[in-house]
Symmetry: C2
Subunit: 202 residues, 2 copies
Amino acid sequence: MNFPSKLIENAVEELAKLPGIGRKTALRLALHLLKTETEQTVGMADALLKMRTLITYCKTCHNISDSETCSICANPGRDHSLVCVVSDIRDVMAIENTSQFKGVYHVLGGVISPIEGIGPSDLTINSLLERIPGSEIKEIILALSPTIEGDTTSFYITRKLKDFNLKITSIARGVPVGGELEYIDEITLGRSIVERSNYGRA
Amino acid sequence: MNFPSKLIENAVEELAKLPGIGRKTALRLALHLLKTETEQTVGMADALLKMRTLITYCKTCHNISDSETCSICANPGRDHSLVCVVSDIRDVMAIENTSQFKGVYHVLGGVISPIEGIGPSDLTINSLLERIPGSEIKEIILALSPTIEGDTTSFYITRKLKDFNLKITSIARGVPVGGELEYIDEITLGRSIVERSNYGRA
Protein backbone atom coordinates (compact mmCIF):
# COMPACT_ATOMS: atom_id res chain seq x y z
CA MET A 1 0.00 0.00 0.00
CA ASN A 2 1.30 3.46 -0.91
CA PHE A 3 0.40 5.88 1.85
CA PRO A 4 0.17 9.58 1.03
CA SER A 5 1.23 10.44 4.58
CA LYS A 6 3.67 8.94 7.08
CA LEU A 7 1.29 9.91 9.90
CA ILE A 8 -1.55 7.82 8.50
CA GLU A 9 0.83 4.97 7.69
CA ASN A 10 1.96 4.81 11.33
CA ALA A 11 -1.63 4.89 12.57
CA VAL A 12 -2.63 2.10 10.17
CA GLU A 13 0.34 -0.02 11.21
CA GLU A 14 -0.52 0.36 14.90
CA LEU A 15 -4.22 -0.45 14.36
CA ALA A 16 -3.33 -3.46 12.20
CA LYS A 17 -1.52 -5.00 15.20
CA LEU A 18 -4.93 -5.62 16.78
CA PRO A 19 -6.33 -9.14 16.30
CA GLY A 20 -8.73 -9.53 13.38
CA ILE A 21 -7.85 -6.12 11.94
CA GLY A 22 -5.95 -6.17 8.67
CA ARG A 23 -4.38 -3.21 6.91
CA LYS A 24 -7.48 -2.43 4.82
CA THR A 25 -9.74 -2.34 7.90
CA ALA A 26 -7.10 -0.34 9.78
CA LEU A 27 -7.07 2.22 6.97
CA ARG A 28 -10.87 2.45 7.08
CA LEU A 29 -10.74 3.05 10.85
CA ALA A 30 -7.99 5.66 10.51
CA LEU A 31 -9.91 7.55 7.79
CA HIS A 32 -13.03 7.37 9.95
CA LEU A 33 -11.15 9.01 12.83
CA LEU A 34 -9.94 11.74 10.45
CA LYS A 35 -13.55 12.49 9.52
CA THR A 36 -14.81 12.71 13.12
CA GLU A 37 -14.11 15.36 15.74
CA THR A 38 -10.61 15.41 17.23
CA GLU A 39 -12.23 14.80 20.64
CA GLN A 40 -13.21 11.27 19.61
CA THR A 41 -9.61 10.27 18.88
CA VAL A 42 -8.42 12.00 22.05
CA GLY A 43 -11.13 10.25 24.08
CA MET A 44 -10.27 6.85 22.65
CA ALA A 45 -6.52 7.24 23.11
CA ASP A 46 -7.07 8.44 26.66
CA ALA A 47 -9.45 5.58 27.57
CA LEU A 48 -7.05 2.97 26.14
CA LEU A 49 -4.02 4.44 27.93
CA LYS A 50 -5.89 4.69 31.25
CA MET A 51 -7.15 1.13 30.89
CA ARG A 52 -3.71 -0.26 30.06
CA THR A 53 -1.81 1.59 32.78
CA LEU A 54 -4.30 1.84 35.67
CA ILE A 55 -6.13 -1.49 35.57
CA THR A 56 -5.31 -4.01 38.29
CA TYR A 57 -6.19 -7.62 38.91
CA CYS A 58 -8.16 -8.79 41.94
CA LYS A 59 -5.66 -10.36 44.38
CA THR A 60 -8.19 -13.09 45.26
CA CYS A 61 -9.76 -14.18 41.97
CA HIS A 62 -7.49 -12.49 39.35
CA ASN A 63 -10.44 -10.89 37.61
CA ILE A 64 -9.75 -7.41 36.21
CA SER A 65 -10.63 -4.73 38.68
CA ASP A 66 -10.31 -1.05 39.44
CA SER A 67 -9.16 -1.84 42.98
CA GLU A 68 -7.20 -4.49 44.91
CA THR A 69 -10.31 -6.63 45.42
CA CYS A 70 -12.86 -6.87 42.60
CA SER A 71 -16.50 -5.92 43.06
CA ILE A 72 -17.57 -9.59 43.02
CA CYS A 73 -15.10 -10.74 45.72
CA ALA A 74 -15.90 -7.62 47.78
CA ASN A 75 -19.66 -8.26 47.63
CA PRO A 76 -20.90 -9.85 50.91
CA GLY A 77 -24.14 -10.81 49.13
CA ARG A 78 -22.31 -13.40 46.97
CA ASP A 79 -21.90 -17.01 48.08
CA HIS A 80 -18.20 -17.25 48.93
CA SER A 81 -18.43 -21.02 49.49
CA LEU A 82 -18.92 -21.54 45.74
CA VAL A 83 -15.97 -20.85 43.42
CA CYS A 84 -16.37 -21.02 39.65
CA VAL A 85 -13.04 -21.65 37.88
CA VAL A 86 -12.89 -20.02 34.42
CA SER A 87 -10.15 -19.54 31.85
CA ASP A 88 -10.70 -15.93 30.98
CA ILE A 89 -12.16 -12.60 32.09
CA ARG A 90 -14.66 -12.85 29.23
CA ASP A 91 -16.02 -16.07 30.76
CA VAL A 92 -16.73 -14.20 34.00
CA MET A 93 -18.66 -11.59 32.04
CA ALA A 94 -20.56 -14.26 30.08
CA ILE A 95 -21.60 -16.08 33.28
CA GLU A 96 -22.46 -12.81 35.04
CA ASN A 97 -24.74 -11.93 32.14
CA THR A 98 -26.79 -15.10 32.78
CA SER A 99 -27.63 -13.85 36.33
CA GLN A 100 -27.71 -17.56 37.32
CA PHE A 101 -24.56 -17.68 39.44
CA LYS A 102 -24.32 -16.12 42.88
CA GLY A 103 -20.91 -17.49 43.90
CA VAL A 104 -17.44 -16.09 43.26
CA TYR A 105 -14.86 -16.76 40.54
CA HIS A 106 -11.28 -17.79 40.00
CA VAL A 107 -9.75 -16.66 36.69
CA LEU A 108 -6.96 -19.00 35.54
CA GLY A 109 -5.67 -16.68 32.80
CA GLY A 110 -5.78 -19.45 30.17
CA VAL A 111 -5.73 -23.23 29.93
CA ILE A 112 -2.87 -25.73 29.90
CA SER A 113 -1.66 -25.95 26.28
CA PRO A 114 1.70 -27.62 25.57
CA ILE A 115 1.47 -26.50 21.91
CA GLU A 116 1.31 -22.83 22.94
CA GLY A 117 3.86 -23.45 25.70
CA ILE A 118 1.38 -22.76 28.51
CA GLY A 119 2.01 -24.96 31.56
CA PRO A 120 0.26 -25.08 34.96
CA SER A 121 2.77 -22.58 36.40
CA ASP A 122 1.70 -19.96 33.83
CA LEU A 123 -1.84 -20.08 35.22
CA THR A 124 -3.19 -19.04 38.64
CA ILE A 125 -3.70 -22.65 39.78
CA ASN A 126 -1.34 -22.26 42.78
CA SER A 127 -3.21 -19.16 43.81
CA LEU A 128 -6.44 -21.22 43.74
CA LEU A 129 -4.87 -23.89 45.99
CA GLU A 130 -3.62 -21.20 48.41
CA ARG A 131 -7.06 -19.66 48.49
CA ILE A 132 -8.74 -22.77 49.94
CA PRO A 133 -7.21 -23.48 53.38
CA GLY A 134 -9.04 -21.59 56.15
CA SER A 135 -11.68 -20.28 53.71
CA GLU A 136 -15.39 -21.07 53.56
CA ILE A 137 -15.03 -22.68 50.09
CA LYS A 138 -17.16 -25.85 49.82
CA GLU A 139 -17.57 -26.39 46.07
CA ILE A 140 -15.39 -25.76 43.03
CA ILE A 141 -17.24 -25.53 39.69
CA LEU A 142 -14.98 -26.15 36.71
CA ALA A 143 -16.32 -24.01 33.84
CA LEU A 144 -13.65 -24.50 31.18
CA SER A 145 -14.27 -24.96 27.45
CA PRO A 146 -14.90 -28.59 26.39
CA THR A 147 -11.69 -28.77 24.35
CA ILE A 148 -8.63 -31.02 24.83
CA GLU A 149 -6.84 -28.14 26.59
CA GLY A 150 -9.87 -27.32 28.76
CA ASP A 151 -10.40 -30.96 29.74
CA THR A 152 -6.67 -31.38 30.50
CA THR A 153 -6.77 -28.32 32.75
CA SER A 154 -9.92 -29.56 34.51
CA PHE A 155 -8.26 -32.95 35.08
CA TYR A 156 -5.07 -31.33 36.41
CA ILE A 157 -6.99 -29.08 38.82
CA THR A 158 -9.16 -32.00 40.01
CA ARG A 159 -6.01 -33.97 40.89
CA LYS A 160 -4.49 -31.01 42.72
CA LEU A 161 -7.74 -30.55 44.70
CA LYS A 162 -8.08 -34.20 45.78
CA ASP A 163 -6.48 -33.61 49.23
CA PHE A 164 -9.02 -30.90 50.07
CA ASN A 165 -12.44 -31.98 51.27
CA LEU A 166 -14.32 -30.22 48.49
CA LYS A 167 -17.18 -30.98 46.13
CA ILE A 168 -15.89 -30.62 42.57
CA THR A 169 -18.40 -30.14 39.77
CA SER A 170 -18.31 -29.24 36.11
CA ILE A 171 -20.78 -27.19 34.08
CA ALA A 172 -23.26 -29.43 32.24
CA ARG A 173 -22.39 -30.56 28.73
CA GLY A 174 -25.36 -31.20 26.48
CA VAL A 175 -27.58 -29.99 23.71
CA PRO A 176 -27.77 -26.17 23.65
CA VAL A 177 -31.21 -24.68 24.33
CA GLY A 178 -32.83 -24.05 20.94
CA GLY A 179 -30.44 -26.45 19.17
CA GLU A 180 -31.81 -28.86 16.57
CA LEU A 181 -30.93 -32.45 17.52
CA GLU A 182 -29.97 -33.45 13.98
CA TYR A 183 -27.29 -30.74 13.76
CA ILE A 184 -25.61 -31.50 17.11
CA ASP A 185 -22.28 -33.34 16.89
CA GLU A 186 -22.21 -37.01 17.95
CA ILE A 187 -20.00 -36.56 21.02
CA THR A 188 -22.24 -33.87 22.52
CA LEU A 189 -25.40 -35.84 21.73
CA GLY A 190 -23.88 -39.03 23.17
CA ARG A 191 -22.82 -37.22 26.34
CA SER A 192 -26.25 -35.62 26.68
CA ILE A 193 -27.79 -39.12 26.77
CA VAL A 194 -25.26 -40.54 29.25
CA GLU A 195 -25.55 -37.50 31.52
CA ARG A 196 -29.35 -37.19 31.17
CA SER A 197 -31.17 -35.35 33.96
CA ASN A 198 -34.49 -36.13 35.69
CA TYR A 199 -37.44 -34.53 33.96
CA GLY A 200 -40.04 -35.25 36.64
CA ARG A 201 -42.23 -38.29 37.07
CA ALA A 202 -45.80 -38.96 36.02
CA MET B 1 -22.81 -6.29 29.44
CA ASN B 2 -21.60 -6.21 33.06
CA PHE B 3 -18.08 -4.87 33.16
CA PRO B 4 -15.88 -5.75 36.12
CA SER B 5 -14.02 -2.46 35.72
CA LYS B 6 -15.02 1.08 34.77
CA LEU B 7 -11.67 1.49 33.01
CA ILE B 8 -12.32 -1.38 30.64
CA GLU B 9 -15.91 -0.27 30.13
CA ASN B 10 -14.74 3.17 28.98
CA ALA B 11 -12.17 1.63 26.65
CA VAL B 12 -14.77 -0.72 25.16
CA GLU B 13 -17.23 2.13 24.67
CA GLU B 14 -14.64 4.23 22.86
CA LEU B 15 -13.52 1.35 20.62
CA ALA B 16 -17.15 0.47 19.82
CA LYS B 17 -17.59 3.94 18.30
CA LEU B 18 -15.41 2.80 15.38
CA PRO B 19 -17.32 1.63 12.29
CA GLY B 20 -17.84 -2.14 12.06
CA ILE B 21 -16.72 -2.71 15.65
CA GLY B 22 -19.43 -3.83 18.06
CA ARG B 23 -19.14 -4.14 21.81
CA LYS B 24 -18.06 -7.80 21.71
CA THR B 25 -15.25 -7.09 19.26
CA ALA B 26 -14.31 -3.97 21.23
CA LEU B 27 -14.01 -6.09 24.38
CA ARG B 28 -11.83 -8.60 22.55
CA LEU B 29 -9.55 -5.77 21.37
CA ALA B 30 -9.39 -4.22 24.87
CA LEU B 31 -8.50 -7.57 26.47
CA HIS B 32 -5.88 -8.12 23.77
CA LEU B 33 -4.26 -4.78 24.66
CA LEU B 34 -4.28 -5.80 28.33
CA LYS B 35 -2.35 -8.95 27.44
CA THR B 36 0.31 -7.18 25.35
CA GLU B 37 3.10 -4.86 26.50
CA THR B 38 2.07 -1.39 27.68
CA GLU B 39 4.27 0.01 24.87
CA GLN B 40 1.86 -1.29 22.24
CA THR B 41 -1.08 0.66 23.67
CA VAL B 42 1.10 3.74 24.15
CA GLY B 43 2.38 3.45 20.57
CA MET B 44 -1.10 3.09 19.16
CA ALA B 45 -2.58 5.96 21.18
CA ASP B 46 0.36 8.15 20.17
CA ALA B 47 0.11 7.29 16.45
CA LEU B 48 -3.65 7.97 16.41
CA LEU B 49 -3.32 11.28 18.25
CA LYS B 50 -0.46 12.44 16.00
CA MET B 51 -2.41 11.43 12.90
CA ARG B 52 -5.57 13.21 14.05
CA THR B 53 -3.92 16.44 15.15
CA LEU B 54 -0.97 16.88 12.76
CA ILE B 55 -2.33 15.66 9.42
CA THR B 56 -3.07 18.29 6.79
CA TYR B 57 -4.75 18.26 3.40
CA CYS B 58 -2.96 19.21 0.18
CA LYS B 59 -4.09 22.73 -0.76
CA THR B 60 -4.18 21.77 -4.46
CA CYS B 61 -5.78 18.32 -4.61
CA HIS B 62 -7.17 17.87 -1.04
CA ASN B 63 -5.40 14.53 -0.62
CA ILE B 64 -4.15 13.88 2.91
CA SER B 65 -0.59 15.00 3.31
CA ASP B 66 2.15 15.66 5.86
CA SER B 67 2.81 19.07 4.29
CA GLU B 68 0.96 21.90 2.50
CA THR B 69 1.39 20.24 -0.91
CA CYS B 70 1.14 16.46 -1.14
CA SER B 71 3.92 14.30 -2.53
CA ILE B 72 1.98 13.66 -5.76
CA CYS B 73 1.27 17.35 -6.51
CA ALA B 74 4.86 18.24 -5.58
CA ASN B 75 6.33 15.60 -7.89
CA PRO B 76 7.59 17.23 -11.16
CA GLY B 77 7.73 13.74 -12.74
CA ARG B 78 3.90 13.48 -12.74
CA ASP B 79 1.80 14.69 -15.66
CA HIS B 80 0.12 17.83 -14.29
CA SER B 81 -2.04 18.21 -17.44
CA LEU B 82 -4.04 15.12 -16.43
CA VAL B 83 -6.31 15.39 -13.34
CA CYS B 84 -8.13 12.33 -12.01
CA VAL B 85 -11.22 13.30 -9.96
CA VAL B 86 -11.96 10.81 -7.16
CA SER B 87 -14.39 10.75 -4.26
CA ASP B 88 -12.08 9.63 -1.52
CA ILE B 89 -8.49 9.35 -0.31
CA ARG B 90 -8.80 5.56 -0.52
CA ASP B 91 -9.51 5.86 -4.25
CA VAL B 92 -6.20 7.72 -4.68
CA MET B 93 -4.41 4.88 -2.88
CA ALA B 94 -6.22 2.24 -4.97
CA ILE B 95 -5.28 3.95 -8.26
CA GLU B 96 -1.71 4.59 -7.08
CA ASN B 97 -1.39 0.87 -6.33
CA THR B 98 -2.13 0.05 -9.98
CA SER B 99 0.97 2.08 -11.08
CA GLN B 100 -0.99 2.86 -14.28
CA PHE B 101 -1.66 6.56 -13.69
CA LYS B 102 1.04 9.21 -13.97
CA GLY B 103 -1.16 12.30 -13.67
CA VAL B 104 -2.36 14.12 -10.55
CA TYR B 105 -5.58 13.91 -8.51
CA HIS B 106 -8.46 15.94 -7.17
CA VAL B 107 -10.17 14.50 -4.07
CA LEU B 108 -13.82 15.60 -3.83
CA GLY B 109 -14.32 14.38 -0.27
CA GLY B 110 -17.47 12.45 -1.20
CA VAL B 111 -20.19 12.44 -3.85
CA ILE B 112 -23.42 14.41 -4.18
CA SER B 113 -26.04 12.58 -2.11
CA PRO B 114 -29.33 14.36 -1.27
CA ILE B 115 -30.29 11.48 1.06
CA GLU B 116 -27.19 12.01 3.20
CA GLY B 117 -27.53 15.79 2.84
CA ILE B 118 -24.33 16.17 0.81
CA GLY B 119 -24.62 18.90 -1.82
CA PRO B 120 -22.05 20.24 -4.32
CA SER B 121 -20.93 22.92 -1.83
CA ASP B 122 -19.89 20.22 0.66
CA LEU B 123 -17.40 18.86 -1.87
CA THR B 124 -14.24 20.41 -3.31
CA ILE B 125 -15.84 21.03 -6.72
CA ASN B 126 -15.29 24.82 -6.56
CA SER B 127 -11.67 24.23 -5.70
CA LEU B 128 -11.41 22.06 -8.86
CA LEU B 129 -12.91 24.85 -11.00
CA GLU B 130 -10.52 27.41 -9.46
CA ARG B 131 -7.61 25.09 -10.16
CA ILE B 132 -8.10 25.09 -13.93
CA PRO B 133 -7.65 28.73 -15.20
CA GLY B 134 -3.98 29.44 -16.00
CA SER B 135 -2.95 25.86 -15.30
CA GLU B 136 -1.60 23.27 -17.72
CA ILE B 137 -4.64 20.98 -17.17
CA LYS B 138 -5.82 19.43 -20.49
CA GLU B 139 -7.88 16.43 -19.41
CA ILE B 140 -10.15 15.62 -16.48
CA ILE B 141 -10.72 11.92 -15.78
CA LEU B 142 -13.87 11.26 -13.73
CA ALA B 143 -13.15 8.19 -11.58
CA LEU B 144 -16.28 8.03 -9.40
CA SER B 145 -18.15 4.88 -8.40
CA PRO B 146 -20.82 3.80 -10.93
CA THR B 147 -23.69 4.47 -8.51
CA ILE B 148 -26.55 6.96 -8.78
CA GLU B 149 -24.64 9.36 -6.52
CA GLY B 150 -21.39 8.90 -8.43
CA ASP B 151 -23.09 9.38 -11.82
CA THR B 152 -24.95 12.47 -10.53
CA THR B 153 -21.68 13.95 -9.34
CA SER B 154 -19.95 13.16 -12.65
CA PHE B 155 -22.83 14.82 -14.53
CA TYR B 156 -22.73 17.90 -12.28
CA ILE B 157 -18.97 18.31 -12.70
CA THR B 158 -19.22 17.81 -16.48
CA ARG B 159 -21.75 20.66 -16.71
CA LYS B 160 -19.60 22.94 -14.56
CA LEU B 161 -16.59 22.19 -16.77
CA LYS B 162 -18.32 22.84 -20.11
CA ASP B 163 -16.99 26.44 -20.40
CA PHE B 164 -13.40 25.30 -20.09
CA ASN B 165 -11.73 23.87 -23.19
CA LEU B 166 -10.95 20.50 -21.61
CA LYS B 167 -11.17 16.85 -22.59
CA ILE B 168 -13.43 15.10 -20.08
CA THR B 169 -13.20 11.33 -19.78
CA SER B 170 -14.52 8.67 -17.44
CA ILE B 171 -12.84 5.45 -16.33
CA ALA B 172 -13.97 2.48 -18.45
CA ARG B 173 -17.00 0.51 -17.29
CA GLY B 174 -16.99 -3.14 -18.29
CA VAL B 175 -16.42 -6.73 -17.32
CA PRO B 176 -13.76 -7.00 -14.57
CA VAL B 177 -10.60 -8.87 -15.55
CA GLY B 178 -11.01 -12.48 -14.41
CA GLY B 179 -14.82 -12.11 -14.18
CA GLU B 180 -17.05 -14.89 -15.50
CA LEU B 181 -19.47 -13.48 -18.10
CA GLU B 182 -22.47 -15.42 -16.77
CA TYR B 183 -22.15 -13.84 -13.31
CA ILE B 184 -21.86 -10.23 -14.52
CA ASP B 185 -24.99 -8.09 -14.06
CA GLU B 186 -26.94 -7.16 -17.21
CA ILE B 187 -26.25 -3.41 -17.11
CA THR B 188 -22.48 -3.90 -16.92
CA LEU B 189 -22.54 -6.55 -19.64
CA GLY B 190 -24.77 -4.37 -21.85
CA ARG B 191 -22.46 -1.38 -21.39
CA SER B 192 -19.41 -3.51 -22.10
CA ILE B 193 -20.91 -4.38 -25.52
CA VAL B 194 -21.96 -0.82 -26.37
CA GLU B 195 -18.57 0.57 -25.28
CA ARG B 196 -16.53 -2.26 -26.84
CA SER B 197 -12.90 -1.50 -27.67
CA ASN B 198 -10.79 -2.45 -30.68
CA TYR B 199 -9.02 -5.76 -30.28
CA GLY B 200 -6.73 -5.52 -33.29
CA ARG B 201 -7.34 -6.62 -36.87
CA ALA B 202 -6.34 -9.80 -38.69
